[in-house]
Each structure stands twice: as C-alpha cells, then as structure tokens.
C-alpha cells in the first residue's frame, strides 16, 4: 500500500511538471500546478498512513488505539490553505494576461528577452 502511495506521488510530480513545461494555455498550466501540488498531499498522507488504523480522534475510541499520524494531516491542511492562495493569485494573473494580451498562450506573451 505505502509503496503504491509513493509511486503515485512521484508520478503526479513528474506528470504535473511535464504538463507545466509543455502547456500552451495558462489556465491549463495552473491546473498542472495543482497536479504537482497534489503529489505533496499524497506523499504527506502516505507517510502518516498506518494500515488498519483509525482516524486520530480520541473522543469516542479508547486511548492506545492504533491511529494514523495526525501531524501529516495538519501539514496537509496547511499546505492546502497556503497553495490555494498561490493558485488564486496565479489565476488572477492569468485572467489579467488574457485581458492584456488577448491570449492565454504563455509563448505568445513575450515581452521579456535576454
């Protein structure tokens, strides 16, 4: 199970970056960024996963029960919040680029060289 999670995380990282490199559309590019980001979620949760364990809420289960690691879940949540900000900002810039250039193709923005 864990090996599969790491494989998925690595795959999402590679395929997301490949998407960013080859993208011809800024919205598509931003979605590719969120694919790369998803790899960090899978990696974090994969690291904290324990097979057959419960959610780490001890309100209705006896202490000492086998639970998954709550720290990585907190990290993932923080990661979601932080990166949502970045994605929102990127989308805002993409909208502005469309207004300004009339295109979403990053190759046709071209104001800066050398």
């Amino acid at each position: 199970m864990t090996a599969l999670a790491y494989g998925v995380a690595a795959w999402l990282l590679v395929v997301g970056i490949a998407g960013v490199v080859t993208s011809r559309n800024l919205i598509h590019l931003v979605v590719c960024m969120s694919v790369v980001q998803a790899s960090t979620y899978v990696l974090l949760l994969g690291i904290g996963y324990r097979s057959g364990a419960k959610a780490p809420v001890f309100a209705d289960i006896p202490t000492g029960t086998r639970v998954v690691d709550p720290v990585v879940q907190a990290l993932t949540l923080t990661d979601v919040v932080v990166e949502a900000t970045v994605i929102a900002l990127l989308l805002a810039i993409a909208v502005q680029a469309h207004k300004r250039f009339g295109t979403l193709d990053p190759d046709r923005l071209g104001a800066i060289r050398g």
Partner: protein, 606 residues
Amino acid sequence: MDLAPLALVVPLLAAAALAAVASHVRRAVADVVTVLAAAASTVLCALLLADAGSGTVVEWFGGWEPRDGVAIGISFAVDEIGAALAVFVAVLATAAAIFSSRYLEADEPYLHVLLLVFLAGMLGFCLAGDVFTMFVFFELMSVAAFALAGYKIDQSEAIEGSLNFAITNTIGSFLLLSGIALTYGRTGALNLAQIGEALATQPADGLVVVAFALIASGFLVKAAIVPFHFWLADAYAVALTPACLLFGGAMSELGLYGVGRTYFAAFSAAFESHQAELRAVLIGVGALTAVVGAVMCVQQDHLKRMLAFATVAYMGVFLIGMGTLSAEGVAGTAVYVLGDGCAKAGLFACVGIVQHRCRGISELRLRGRGRDLAGTAALFALGGLLLASLPPFGTFLGKSMLGAALRAEGYGWAIAVIVLASVLTGAAVLRAAGRVFGGWGARPEHPPATEEEGAEREVERGAAARTPAVMWVPAVLLIAGGVAAGVWPGLADAALGAAEAFTDRAGYSAAVLEGAAVAPPPAHASSPPWFDYLIGVGSAACALGVAALALFAPRPRSRAAAELGAVVSRCGAGLRALHSGRIGDYVAWLLAGFTALGGLFGLALT
C-alpha cells in the same frame, strides 16, 4: 515580553488594519503607519539580536516545550545570524517604506499592505525553528513577492515577469515540501534540532540524500542559483522600486540562509564524513552561478535587469562562501551580504530616482540625460565601486574574510571567480553611471526598441524637477551603510562569533531541546592581509578600466581583435538567448537542475 513573535505581529497587524480601512484612510496616514510599523519591527529585531548575543533565544508557542528530546510544539529559535538577518531585512523594509511614500499616485495603500506582509514573511522565515514553519513563512513571503512583482498589472512585462516568478518559485516550494515530508517520514520530527539528533545516530542513506536534495533545490530556486535563476531578472526588471530594494537586498539571500540553516542544524552530522565532496559540489555550482550572472550583467541595457543579474552573480559568490561549510566562510558571507545588500538596495533606489527624474530605464536611451543629477551620479558610482569591493568598504571586508576561508579549505581558485564577478558587475554599474550621468560613450546607432520602456510609466506623471527627500535619503543611507560595514569596529569578530554558533549543531540542539543556551565565546577574526588590499584596489581599478573600455574603446583596427570581439559577443548572445522568457523553458531548466544537483549530491554524499 516576548520579542520574537512581536516583531512579526506589528507589521502583520498594521497590514491588516490598512487593508481593512483601505478606501477610507488618507494616503499620508497610510505612509506614516507603514514606515512606523517597519521601523518598530526594526527596533524589536535589534533588541532580539542583543538578546541572542547571550545565547540562542527559543520561544515555544502555547508553552508546548520539548520533553525528553521530543519537540511537538512550534518554535522560534533565534541565534545571532538569524536575528542579524531579520534586522537587515527590517532595515531594508523601512527604507522601502520611506521610498514608497511619494511613489504611486494611487490612493489605496495596497502596496503598503503587501510590503508589510512581505516583511512579516521574511522575518518569520529568519526566526523559525522548525522546517514546516520555515515553509509556511517562505510561502507567505513568496506570495507577497509575486504580488509585488506584478503590482503594475496593466503592463505586459509585469504580468509576464510575475507569472515566471510565481510558477518557478511555487514549483520550488513543492520540491521543498516534498523534502520536508521525506525528512519527517525518516525522523518523525519537524523541529530542526530534533531532526539533527535523529539523523546524527546513523550515516546518511539514499532517502536522506534525496530529502536534502529536494530541500536544497527548493531553497536554491529562491536563491537564484544557476540553472534555477531564470525567473529572477524577469521579476526584478518589472517590480516597483520599493519592492526591488527588498528583492535585491535580501530576498534571494534568504533562500541561501534556508540551505545553511537546514544543513548546519539538521543534516550536518549525517553528512559529516562526506563534507569534502559536498564542499566541492557547492563551490562548483556557486562559481558557475557567479560567472553566468556577471557575464549576463555586463550585457544588459535595462538598468534594473543589470542589477538583477548582479544579484545572481553575488548569489553565486555567497553560495561559494556558504559552501566552504566552515564558520569562517559563513562569517565572510554574512559580512559580504551586509555590504552587498546595502549597495544593491542603494543602487536600486538610485535607479528609482533616475526613473523619476528622467523617465527612462534603458542605459543607451538615457545617455547624458542624467547630467543634472550630480548627487545621484556620485551615489551610483560609489555603488559601482562597492560592487567592485574597493577597500575599505563592507564588500571588501567580506571578500577578504571569504578569501581567507577559501584558502584554508584549499579552494584558492574560487577567489579568482569572486574577483571576476566583482570586476564585471562593478564595471557594468560604472559604465551605466558614465553613460547616463556623464553622457560619455558613442551615440548608439540603434537605440533599443521601446519594448521595456513600459517600466517607466510606473512613476507618477507631472514635473519632476527635483528629487524628493523620501527618495534620496534612503539611497544615501543605504550606500553609506555599505561603506560603513567595512570600517565598523568589531563587525568581523561579531560575525565570526555568530557564524561559529550558526555552524555548531550540538550547541543549537542543546539550546533548543534542553534549554541550555550558552553565550558564544568571543571570537577574533584576523584582519585582511596586505595582498587582499592589493586585490581589492586592483579589482576596483579593473572595473573602472573595463567600464572605460566599454565607453571609449575605438573600433578594433586589427582583424584578430575584431574576430575576438565577434567570438565574445556571439558567446554572450548565446547565453542571452537561453534567457528566453518562456515559462516552459524555465521549468524544464529547473527540473534539469534538480536532477543534476540530486545526482551530484548522490555521488558526493553516499
């Protein structure tokens, strides 16, 4: 009173208050609030630095102190290097806040809000004691920086520069977070000291090397190390001048601080037996960065882009310094960062004044248009000499300390690279000063197209017959700071003491996990030997010579000279062509750089 959190809370609260009342507050009030908040933050950081002098200050939020070497809580762990960097950042932010007072005509103070949030993010990053807190503040400062770079959203250059900046740096953050996740998976810890203790028990294996490669690559994207550096010039060229003060003075240096902090506090014990190999990799990459940055710098016509590539060159120099992995090297780097950061921030402020007065940013098109600006011309030339590290300026002291550390580790050749970087960057700035303020040099046959002139429009319209004090005062103070850093008594000793604490993993760990902070013993840095003065004067003279050659050289007579010139300019053009402005290229370079760096670390560390 807990100083460490307060230094962040002040700018964050001020930013929140300004954002809340944005449309109801007078512009002048917003200006004053911003300057006061940044200045208050500076004072708090300076008090914190004084506290850190008697041992690392550790602040556990909510009282979650470590038990039996296990740290669950979130902490700030402030040593002298971290606190000094925080003071430096806060000083630059204050200068930027003063500079921006008269800057834009817009009534709503969103620039101020972003500056303050940016400041808080950078301070939190300097003070954080665990890797995830570092990541969060790293992201906070990054997002604010993306917005600052793209602030003039109606200009096409600003949109493109900000996009390139945001996408490359965010992918860097993902690499960083993956590295943090793997480190947590191995050690079960996020606190730097606890990670260090866990990794010290056994030699590093593949997983630890991969984790370190991910973390280092993430930080080095921000530090603009070749080949992660492409975004930097695009972003700096379009950013507003107040933001440029912080970008050019401190932001990239913080990326390098992240590498140093995680290495020395967490990974150094695990890589103890492979230090020599790691040193070779870091110094090699630093030398490559310094050369690429310097060669690109002299080729630029856009003044802000020129200073941006000077930043890249100096990041290479600082990586060489950090790469010595010794206290002496870190101390030299710290002094160099202070001198060079003041110089570059001051130069950016001068460029802002030139933009304000002459409505231009292209060196060739500005030729002779700055003749009336005698004061700015003097500052600009002084900044160029600072970059060329003329004795006894701060950059000279840093270079001399760095040179001694490199000789001690057997990397004397790297000194030549540092000299080359300072000569070329200094020459570029001096050439620009001669052309803009003196009207020297041949009249350009083909003045560059107006594609980058858009940046001029950032300054308000209307007559600019004189330079407002809020512009020249920060510029004078920053350049003076760069000069004074070299003659400040005791600075070298203090830097060495701070660097010894910074590189001492066991001491850091004891301070954080056991609360056993001890004051670092007084250190004595040796004063620069006579030949360093010779090198310093020589490199300043070379910079002047190269600048004069660029301005006054006649057309080459002999065939060989003409051919040599053609080959040189073709190589330069080839390097420039790589900086294509395309996001896809930049991300591909980033991935290639990560793979190469990971491979080199794999070879060096296992």
